[in-house]
């Protein structure tokens, strides 16, 4: 049987990531996820959407696919921007930011990786796909 899938197309406008989190909350309820799991999924989704909005440097829409599986939820955030090199993204540490000139932002990838069970990045000059998986422990 084909796995249930929900797809969203978001324009790059302020706070559009909240549409994605509202959808994620409905899916989380459908899957009987805990409040903690639901919050983690929404937070990771917010950060992936913001990265797509801010760093893709394009006016194209951002696509979000939710794949509902028996024992996991997979979310793909897809942009058609200029891509990025993940190896050049430094792991942020607050000790390096407080009282220093370093900008305080740059936490998105770190949060996504901490909150999800697995994260994959595929990126080239045609765009970036972030695939995030949350294993469901019923």
């Amino acid at each position: 049987m084909k796995k249930p899938t929900v797809e969203l197309k978001l324009p790059i406008l302020p706070n559009m990531e909240l549409i994605a989190t509202q959808t994620a909350e409905v899916i989380a309820r459908h899957m009987n996820l805990t409040e903690d799991q639901s919050g983690e999924i929404s937070m990771a989704l917010i950060e992936a959407c913001i990265n797509a909005f801010e760093h893709s440097k394009t006016d194209s829409n951002v696509f979000i696919h939710f794949l509902i599986e028996e024992d996991s939820l997979v979310m793909k955030v897809i942009d058609q921007g200029i891509g990025f090199d993940k190896t050049k993204v430094e792991i942020p540490k607050i000790e390096n930011k407080i009282g220093k000139e370093e900008r305080k932002r740059g936490w998105g990838l770190q949060l996504i990786q901490e909150l999800m069970d697995s994260v994959e990045f595929e990126s080239n000059s045609d765009g970036t796909t972030v695939t995030m998986k949350k294993n469901i422990k019923h």
């Binding site: 929404s42 937070m43 607050i94 930011k97």
Partner: protein, 113 residues
């Protein structure tokens, strides 16, 4: 005042800011505007009641890091209470809990800050 700021009050020389809604860049800037104004007025202790903020993003939370940095210059403190579990977890991952404190209640926060 931004609609993100539900109220402000003072207790025991602590400025208590109650938020309502999404802590994004605009929400963070609304908090920082109040804090910086109060710091200029000589106040150095702040509490954020986040009962009405169930959703945050890292840009908004980064502005709290800027406030922590500013408070270090004046030997000030900031704390938070009524955090949703995911907000507390986000603060922990980003390291805010190394430089500021999460409290369970206003009573506990006012007594400890």
């Amino acid at each position: 005042m931004s609609s993100f700021i539900k109220s402000t009050k003072e207790a025991n020389q602590i400025v208590i800011i109650e938020t309502d809604g999404y802590l994004n860049n605009e929400g963070g800037e609304a908090i920082s505007a109040i804090c910086y104004e109060k710091i200029k007025g000589g106040q150095h202790k702040f509490l954020i009641n986040m009962a009405g903020t169930k959703v945050v993003n890292s840009i908004g939370v980064s502005i709290l890091i800027e406030i922590i940095e500013k408070l270090q210059e004046v030997d000030g403190k900031i704390g938070y209470y009524n955090l949703a579990p995911i907000v507390a977890k986000t603060f922990n991952i980003m390291g805010l809990t190394k430089y500021s404190t999460v409290f369970a209640t206003e009573e506990e926060a006012v007594g400890a800050l």
